[in-house]
């Protein structure tokens, strides 16, 4: 009979389709983004950050960059930048989500932790000419974002998305470029959840490098360097955005302190959350070497 009655056939097909849909797509609305998911520290976007997010969407950055640190050790190590894997509560203000499906480039869920520099110097240089900081990168240049930001809809966006905002937030948009907006967005990504910083050793005098020779640690140190330092200090420690490090004359203890606590004014991030003491000492030992 089914093969003779198209109306019944279509109704039945619809019902069959709706079973799996109901269980896996409709029902989860009851839990996802509910009280159990909420994280108090996660804040909505400011007008400038939201403008940046909209530019991210316009340029289709999501076609190459994901925004979810999976619950895999290697993901957390590579993209956590001291934070942990992504939690549902971090995304409650994201309309739409921008998790992406490809990592032609690296994940950006916590990129704000990687480059905390308030001036965004690294981002600016990278966006204008990616190959100037990462020579082999295949990312396009976004120098064209150096144009005034259109703020016509900024306030309406806040209202529509029901995000709180102040007059100061709106004033902050004045004179900003599209580049400023996208950098503001990237600096916010992943920074809401407080990162547990390792207690930085108080007494510099008490700091003593446990490594006396470099051979045994060289390969570990190099891989940490490539992962965390090369993008600002150059592949060969020759200095690009940050100063040259090769054969540094600074004392071990001082280098340790700079790496673990950072120098905020210069844009040098703190690595005390991302790297344990052992790894920092390995770095210190190796960067001071004057060989290749």
């Amino acid at each position: 009979m089914l093969e003779k009655n198209p109306v019944i056939f279509i109704i039945l097909a619809f019902v069959v389709i709706m079973i799996g849909t109901t269980v896996t797509m409709i029902a989860p609305f009851k839990w996802i983004n509910g009280a159990g998911d909420r994280i108090a520290e996660v804040k909505p976007y400011t007008p400038l950050q939201q403008e940046g997010r909209d530019i991210y969407m316009r340029e289709g950055c999501n076609n190459c960059h994901s925004q979810t640190v999976r619950t895999l050790a290697a993901d957390v190590e590579r993209y956590g930048y001291g934070g942990t894997y992504s939690k549902s509560g971090e995304f409650v203000y994201d309309r739409p989500h921008l998790w992406g499906s490809r990592r032609t480039g690296p994940d950006l869920a916590r990129i704000g932790l990687k480059y905390p520099d308030p001036k965004g110097a690294w981002h600016r240089k990278h966006m204008e000419n990616p190959q100037s900081v990462v020579p082999a990168s295949n990312m396009p240049s976004y120098a064209f974002l150096n144009k005034p930001l259109d703020t016509t809809y900024s306030e309406r966006k806040m209202k529509l998305l029901k995000f709180p905002y102040s007059q100061a937030d709106l004033d902050d948009l004045k004179g900003k470029s599209e580049m400023d907006a996208i950098i503001a967005y990237m600096r916010k990504l992943g920074t809401d959840i407080p990162v547990k910083k390792v207690e930085a050793a108080v007494q510099t005098a008490a700091l003593k490098n446990p490594f006396t020779e470099y051979k045994s640690i060289e390969s570990d140190a190099k891989s940490v360097y490539r992962q965390h330092c090369a993008s600002c200090h150059g592949d060969k420690r020759e200095g690009t955005l940050g100063p040259a490090l090769k054969g540094s004359a600074k004392a071990d203890a001082e280098l340790f302190k700079i790496i673990s606590q950072g120098i905020e004014a210069n844009g040098m991030p703190s690595f005390s959350a991302a790297l344990d003491e052992q790894k920092i000492w390995k770095l210190v030992t190796w960067i001071k070497l004057d060989t290749k």
Binding site: E3, K4, P6, F9, I10, A13, F14, V16, I17, M18, I19, G20, T21, T24, M25, P28, I32, N33, M57, R58, E59, G60, N63, C64, R70, T71, A73, A74, E77, R78, S86, S88, E90, F91, V92, Y93, D94, R95, P96, H97, W99, S101, R103, T104, G105, V134, A136, S137, N138, P140, S141, F144, Y153, R156, S219, D220, S223, R226, Q227, K279
Partner: protein
């Protein structure tokens, strides 16, 4: 016997022509973006940057080439299977206009950066509404033809057609819900993890309702036509059909393994993905057994070759897909080039192969003549097959290599390779993929020439008769 029914085929021809045009554009853009991944200097800011072009490629491929040809084939098949002329030829002509306007506006708006960013649902709300209207008008025409049919029994292809009409409507409408800010911008109705879950419920079932169900409808119609064998098992067809459309809808979260989506949704997706092997292979076996052992037809009939090769890619695709849906395997290949390798075996292999075969058949029928050149059809076959294989194989290797490098750690838990090292390692494969694109394009051009010549031949012989 009554006089033979007069079918209305102008729009079939119109849709075939335009879908081929959009398909060629999809491939050209595909080649351009594959080159941009090796030479970023090829990005032309801001309109022709990779981030804006990639959705143009996928939309032209899936909506322009895929859906465009499906509409042509559904109009053609439905009339024959119901022995009834199309319900409204006028509506069909209007549908073609809306189709072309929609796809052209999609390309223009995406280049302008008007983009919702949800994969395969990128078009902003005014255009999404046009697409929805297009689909409803098309569905209405097909369904009314079925309702007024003269043949009581509905053959398997008609079930698949009806399921696709209903399924796509539900999926497209839900995933496009949003709140407009102005004419060119809206925000999704769903937030964060909910939005991701809705998106991949849509995304995977776009694979089901657009890239699986319609080509199956077409395959089931044309294979018996060209082999002169009846379909092997009607009952197997029924079981495979209902279990396929039941199971697919549970599996969207296999795109979201290890993410914040609740674990039980991920586990269900994994289990149902594996179960999907059964109905998928039911469909494949039904095709193979329809050959009734007459495999020499693979040699003697150029269309059989396309259809059987297509269904074989479908079989491989539905073994590889479930494998990717397993958590441990996903950890390894998700986000890597493995996935484009999978995707293009489906699109360039399965979907396109079946469409090439069906297009040859319909072209010869509509122009009431033989194909212009069987030799060229063979050349076309080998070029697209080789192009497709090089594409997928290089991307699988690249994906495995990068996946392995990304997960490699040192004894102290630090990562062995930086991201850039993993990228430099796969550049050679990117270059080979671009070459595969040119080979595929060459095949496509041979196909277009052959189709054009066949239509011309048909027109000439009709003119001679008159």
């Amino acid at each position: 016997m009554n006089a033979p029914t007069r079918y209305f085929d102008d729009s079939v021809k119109g849709f075939i022509t335009w879908s081929i045009i959009w398909g060629t554009i999809a491939v050209l853009v595909g080649i351009l973006i594959s080159l941009q991944l090796v030479w970023p200097q090829l990005n032309v800011a801001p309109y022709l940057t990779y981030g804006r072009l990639r959705p143009i490629h996928t939309n032209a491929g899936i909506f322009g080439w895929g859906i465009g040809s499906f509409i042509a084939m559904f109009f053609y098949i439905t009339q024959r299977l119901t022995k009834t002329p199309l319900w409204s030829p006028k509506l069909a002509r209007v549908t073609l206009w809306i189709f072309n306007i929609a796809i052209a506006s999609a390309a223009v708006t995406l280049a302008l950066g008007i983009n919702r960013t949800k994969e395969y649902a990128e078009l902003e709300w005014p255009l999404a509404i046009v697409v929805a209207i297009l689909w409803v008008l098309f569905s209405l025409n097909v369904l009314m033809t079925i309702l007024k049919r003269k043949e009581e029994q509905m053959y398997i292809s008609l079930w698949y057609i009806m399921a696709a009409l209903v399924g796509v409507t539900v999926l497209y409408v839900v995933n496009n819900l949003g709140v407009p800010l102005h004419l060119f911008k809206s925000y999704s109705a769903f937030a964060g993890t909910n939005d991701a879950n809705v998106q991949w419920w849509y995304g995977h079932n776009a694979v089901a309702m657009v890239l699986t169900v319609p080509p199956l409808a077409i395959f089931y119609y044309f294979l018996p036509k060209v082999t002169n064998n009846p379909i092997y098992s009607h009952r197997m067809g029924i079981i495979a059909f209902w279990s396929l459309i039941f199971m697919y809808l549970w599996t969207g979260a296999h795109h979201l393994l290890w993410t914040p989506v609740p674990d039980w949704i991920q586990t269900l997706a994994m289990a149902f993905s594996i179960m999907l092997i059964a109905p998928s292979w039911g469909a494949v076996m039904n095709g193979y057994l329809t050959m009734n052992g007459q495999w020499e037809k693979m040699k003697s009939n150029y269309i059989v070759k396309f259809l059987i090769c297509g269904i074989t890619f479908y079989g491989l695709q539905t073994l590889q897909g479930p494998m990717q849906a397993i958590r441990t395997f996903s950890a390894f290949i998700h986000y890597t080039d493995w996935v484009p390798g999978h995707v293009h075996m489906g699109t360039m292999g399965w979907v396109s192969m079946v469409l090439f075969g069906a297009t040859y058949y319909v072209t010869t029928k509509l122009s009431e003549t033989e194909i212009y050149s069987v030799k060229l059809a063979d050349t076309h076959f080998w070029l697209v097959l080789v192009g497709q294989l090089i594409y997928s194989v290089t991307m699988w290797i690249a994906g495995v290599q990068q996946g392995m490098m990304l997960l490699a750690t040192n004894p102290d838990g630090t990562l062995h390779y930086s991201f850039m090292e993993t990228m430099i390692a796969i550049f050679p494969y990117y270059k080979m993929r671009a070459v595969s694109g040119f080979i595929y394009l060459a095949g496509l051009l041979v196909f277009i020439y052959n189709i054009y010549k066949t239509f011309q031949k048909g027109a000439d012989s009709q003119a001679a008769k008159a």
